[in-house]
């Protein structure tokens, strides 16, 4: 189970962050939000969330490398590192360009 966790965690974290930030964006652009808190700067929230997501991915990568989470099978260890790097790059790739776009048009 340890091996499966190592392999599935990085990109699952990407998926969670990606969906959450997309959801946040949907919420920020919804009429409901405009009624509750129209003055909150949506883009700042989104950028903040993206930075948090990137930090989490980096943290996970560091954790997977550290001896505190050992993995006897070298091949599995290497694959999980590749996936963690992929998740970090993926987070940047999928979130950063979008933030330059028009917000709610």
């Amino acid at each position: 189970m340890n091996a499966i966790l190592r392999l599935s965690l990085p990109l699952t974290l990407w998926l969670a962050a990606f969906s959450a930030i997309y959801g946040l964006h949907g919420l920020l652009c919804s009429s409901r939000w405009a009624a509750v808190a129209p003055e909150l700067p949506g883009r700042v929230l989104l950028v903040g969330a993206t930075i948090a997501a990137l930090a989490l991915q980096a943290l996970l990568l560091a954790f997977l490398r550290s001896p505190r989470w050992p993995q006897p099978d070298a091949a599995i260890r290497r694959v999980s590192m590749v996936l963690a790097v992929a998740a970090l790059v993926g987070t940047a790739w999928t979130l950063i360009p979008a933030l330059a776009m028009s917000h709610c048009l």
Binding site: S8, S19, H25, C29, R32, D73, T94, A98, L105
Partner: protein, 818 residues
Amino acid sequence: MNALRRHRALSRIWASDPGLKGWFTTVNHTDLGRMFLFVATVFFVIGGILAMLIRAQLASPRSAFLGPDHYNQIFTMHGTIMMFLFAIPFFEGLAVYLLPKMLGTRDLAFPRLTAYGFWCYVFGGSMMIFALLAGIAPDSGWFMYPPLSSTIGAPGINSDFWLIGITFVEISAISAAVEITVTVLRYRAPGMKLSQMPIFAWYALVTAVMILTGFPPLILGSILLELERAFGLPFFQVAQGGDALLWQHLFWLFGHPEVYIIFLPAAGAISTILPVMARTTLMGYGWIVAAAVSLGVLSFGLWVHHMFTTGIPHMGLAFFSAASTLVAVPTAVQIFAWIGTLWKGRPSLHLPMLWLLAFFATFVIGGLTGVMVAIVPFDWQAHDTYFIVAHLHYVLVGGFVFPMIAALYYWMPHFTGRRTYFKLGNVAFWLVVPGFHGTFLALHWAGLLGMRRRIDTYESGQGWEVINIIASISGFVMAIGFALVLIDVVVNAVVAVRGSRDPWGAGTLDWAMPTPAAPYNFASLAQVTSRDPLYEDPELPVRLARGEGYLGDPGRGRRETLTVEIGTGAPRYIVVFPGNTALPVLMSAITGLFFLGMLIKAYWLVPISALGVTLCALLWVWGLGRPAPEEALPVGRGLSLHTAAEAADPPGWWGSVFLLLANGTFFGSLLFGYAFLFSIAPNWPPPAYLEPGALPVVLVLAGAGLTFLGSRIGTVVGQGMAPVGLALIAGAALPVLSESPDPTLHAYDATVWVFVGYGLLHCLVGMLMWSVVMLRRLSGHSADTTLGAMRIARLWSDYTLLVALLTAAAIGLPGVLT
């Protein structure tokens, strides 16, 4: 004991019932795998005939061959059959047949579940075909957008066939997925580390987990839409707080992973076959595993790219456009690793390799057009035109059908034990592949000229006539080619001469047995130390047949295999499989009555068949109990192990974990749907939020506490406390529902009812589980042999508690906060 006597003894134990009866009582994966493949092929033929009707209709402008009412049914059913009744089941069949053999074990984790899933597929598929023949098939397109597919646009029974029939068929996908996951993780040859698995097993694992997390949103959507159609719960009716876009989100949350659920098994077959055809080993095994896992997860972040034209803000689209381009990267890693493998070896041009070349030519084009439609502005122009139709056929036929034909020819010597002799296959190849490109290449252009998909005829003079007539003629050529492939397979299976054991010189364990496979697969189980055991030890098959591996002694007279540690592959315990039984086919027939009752609105049938299914399930589970523990039993090679009956994590526990993963995704989708309606649907908030007061809260909390404690005490008393706690939680439903007596008023009320119904169902199942555990203890089963069952019940009731608490918060909070 010599090899022949061992073969006879094992065959006596493992063989299916003889004659006709054997078809219905078999639980053997080799039989069921073949049956799956056969039935899926039948559906492929039916879907193909529908495609030919479509091409006949579109061959010329203003065709009067079919009217829109028939045409709409035909294209809807073509898509539905190919996706749900051909592609997924075909993968299931291949995996069911191959996985235990490749992993070096004797059967899948839950043999009876394989059979149950198979029969659900057959019965559900038959429902759909009945609708087609009766002319009352679904006609709203294969993605069934409401309100068109709801009572407004489709008042007849047509849509119900889709919603109910497909949900029924999906039982087979979910059960196969649970089965595959547990098998790959726990049922391998001793010593086979996770990183030494055949690459196909990795793909099957990823695909299975994707089915577990990808299908539940669709199942939820189907249930909600059917509730709307049958009882007026307005989830997709905008006037009463629903939203048509909710369906699109739920459908594509399933629909995009679905594409990769179809592609990944094919990629697994390619990664297996290609190195053998190039007489070398796979380049970049680790990279390919990483790519498969990446594709599996990334594909869940793409669903909105099917909704670029629904008016979602550009930033929202940009997220998904970026993700859609990103997903091309792991695909490229695989493609180039395969090309590298070809460079590394001495590639041949046998028939399977030819089909793989057809895969490259087709799939690369499909992938490139896929990148095109990932670019938002281009998609705005191409969406719902023949460009998309052409693109998806390039991806699905190139990425699934061609590799599967390669797989068919590659494993045919295994299926039949015969040499492929006739050369009809080459002729078929040269009909299908040019025929395919002739059909679909030019259709891209028709799409760009403005030809919309799903129109039943068109006017002349728009520049589409030549393209369409070429497409139709090529389509018929392709169909003739496919027919030849089938004829070729049948002829070879019947008359070709016996062949050698490993005709391609492959290294995986599926070729370490005599073919056609014996019902027990391996006379004894290999000790594995590398990725290609046959390359390392060419004598392995002989030694296995001589009984030099594990469990080579049939003396205990029952179907036994070994489970292993997930990571290391160290042997853990013996599993004793059930024998032949008609219970699965019976249970799936009763399940079919349940769905039939829903379909024809004979609601009296529903509770009766639900009761019948419950009784079957109890019968099923009861048989697994063992009154007293056995001591550690010798399994050969000097090792002794206990049986699963005494394990704290029996296969059933693992199966439950993954079933709950699917179940949790279902509940998560429900929460998502609720949040979506809450924040996006136009007619919210509802007239009033629920304020049920303190009573339900107290009931839920008290029940949760009682269940939590009881499930951890471990005595009969505790096992009595747990169901009582669950009953208390169930009791909270009454005051809640009395506050919201009419679920048809607003989508909010409807959602509350679904939440409560879901919770009630889980309380009920939990109570049943605890009753079984308690009854076992009371009837004298020892604590050791009920431990596993108890942990399964605890797993389920813990999940139920979580659901109850989340439901209480979801229902209660809006009322409290506003």
